[in-house]
Amino acid sequence: MHFLLLFSRQGKLRLQKWFTPVPEREKKKIVRDMTTMVLGRKPRSCNFLHWKDLKIVYKKYASLYFCCGLDAEENELLALEVLHRYVELLDKYFGNVCELDIIFNFEKAYFILDEFLLGGEVQETSKQVLSRSIEASDMLQEVCFGRSCLLSVLSIIFSVVL
């Protein structure tokens, strides 16, 4: 997979993941091209397009379009399953996920994506294992925060005392 994009019906970008090095200007152009092409498709068209030498696979979930760019040898039907799996993961994490969740918690959407795909390839095929990893990471964040809170409180007390 070369890239994965999420954008709204109005063409607003909600998430962008690039798996190959692309210059900033080029990224903007690709995003523009993808949004134009995908949003311009008729409602009951097939989910595959051709763009340059890439296969573009897209799927609409509620108000969000999930769009990815594949190499010629990659399996488009499986890519649909990959997109679907990502949506399922988001849904499990946020509970009935909607676009607003992705907007206000975009960094979490990225964290989940980074547990699911690495370098454009699937790294974990079990939903449960993946969810557990995310939970553990979140927990670590809490603990860390808690610990640092405690540390900063203690340092304030000490600085007052001393």
Partner: protein, 648 residues
Amino acid sequence: MPAPIRLRELIRTIRTARTQAEEREMIQKECAAIRSSFREEDNTYRCRNVAKLLYMHMLGYPAHFGQLECLKLIASQKFTDKRIGYLGAMLLLDERQDVHLLMTNCIKNDLNHSTQYVQGLALCTLGCMGSSEMCRDLAGEVEKLLKTSNSYLRKKAALCAVHVIRKVPELMEMFLPATKNLLSEKNHGVLHTSVVLLTEMCERSPDMLLHFRKLVPQLVRILKNLIMSGYSPEHDVSGISDPFLQVRILRLLRILGRSDDDSSEAMNDILAQVATNTETSKNVGNAILYETVLTIMDIKSESGLRVLAINILGRFLLNNDKNIRYVALTSLLKTVQTDHNAVQRHRSTIVDCLKDLDVSIKRRAMELSFALVNGNNIRGMMKELLYFLDSCDPEFKADCASGVFLAAEKYAPSKRWHIDTIMRVLTTAGSYVRDDSVPNLIQLITNSVEMHAYTVQRLYKALLDDISQQPLVQVSSWCIGEYGDLLVSGQCEEEEPIQVTEDEVLDVLEGLLVSNLSTPVTRGYSLTAIMKLSTRFSSVVSIYGSSIDVELQQRAVEYNALFKKYDHMRPALLERMPIMEKTASNGPTEIVQTNGETEPSVPDTKHPPLVTQPANQVTARSHDISVFTIDGSFFVTDDVLLNQWFNI
């Protein structure tokens, strides 16, 4: 200094902006605040500020001043900081940035961190966007992690290794020892990523391919277990166990069995089993079948298996799901060269797909249809393809027209059929025909000698209907110019010859010249045609050479002589008339400047001359000198054109 606002707060605020300008203002204000916060080296809120910056970056605003801050976050000990820091690095710090390499040390430390989630972050970042230098520096660490027993890290290390190999192929060797027992893993995550790693190595190196061929039996066993095993809640997708792993194994088998009989033999059974037992009601099952078909077609499979594969594709073509139909057409296109006969069996279904509503499917069906055309089915196929050309979207017409011409040239059953087909394309999709087709078609027509009369007749009739399609007009003009004499003499054998006079022909060509629809190229063609006709049509004058009317007879003979023996004088003779005084209608007539061969015209009592110009004798509206009539009208309408003509 008040605490910087929270991320969610910022997002909420920005979303209330009603115009782009308002949004830009908010962003600029916040960026300024963030910048000063960065300057103060504030550790507590750095994470929050970078997160906000990343949000603004997604909206399209510049965020480069946050790059160094990401590095500082990565170097922090707090997990929260690292998480956002690495995210920021992946979004802002691709390998083109100067700051990129500074990450290397941090990543190295984190790869050896005590917490696996930190190690995971480092592996993920390296595997997504590590530059070649970084990969070179850190490959050793990745290799170490590939051998760990921690499956969480092992699966990430495998994909990280894939990235390293893509960036620095020479490092492939160093990962070889670690791959030894990768496939004995029970953990599906590790299995999946291991298969991806093995695939990458085999694709890049023939030596590796040879080395890993011995894994075929093990891969077959794993695949078999997946299919035969009962329901496994962890990996189940619509009743199928771990389809992601199944597809990757099938792909690896494809590469391993590609040019090797033994390996292909060893996987024969499992492929047949997958092909027949996979549930096809949902997309996931079809994804596996699709991969299976691709594998069967690529390895050295026995013919029975190949037929099975093509039949699966044939069934796909009838599936309600558009995606499946599309994928079937794409696969058939890949195999049509090697398994032509098998694909031919599905020709009627493929041709039906030309009528599909989906644009992507139509395109594939068109390409495949052209690939299936041969001497036996040319008539039937061409009928379908021409119907498609009539009704398809403009984006297809050029390619379809070119395809039709090519196919017609290769397999035309008769010359007449060939000309008819060309005619059909020119009249229905004439404006979309490629420019280079026009000379090719002209050459084709020239070569079909016995069809000249028929061709020119049909083209003439087409011109009468429509002069807007330039390629049609150009080819027609050219043909009329060459074979106009056949047209008027009614020599057509193939169909009922039409009655057309030279006058009418020249009128039509003249019409092309003055029409706004004609491009300069088209006008050139018509002009040349008219020029040519002036030689071919001169014989019309001789018809009146035996006219009862002596006057006509004389003129006819003399004009004929003019064309034949004194052609060099024609420019002078047909030169523009000088301005004449108004005289009485019966006054002395102006004589065409000749060398005395023709006599001064006697006032013609039969045809009352037009009032003002006595010189109208020369341009009298009688048919025998219709050529001059047309010249006369050229005088009136387009001086420049006429001068150009005679200056050739």
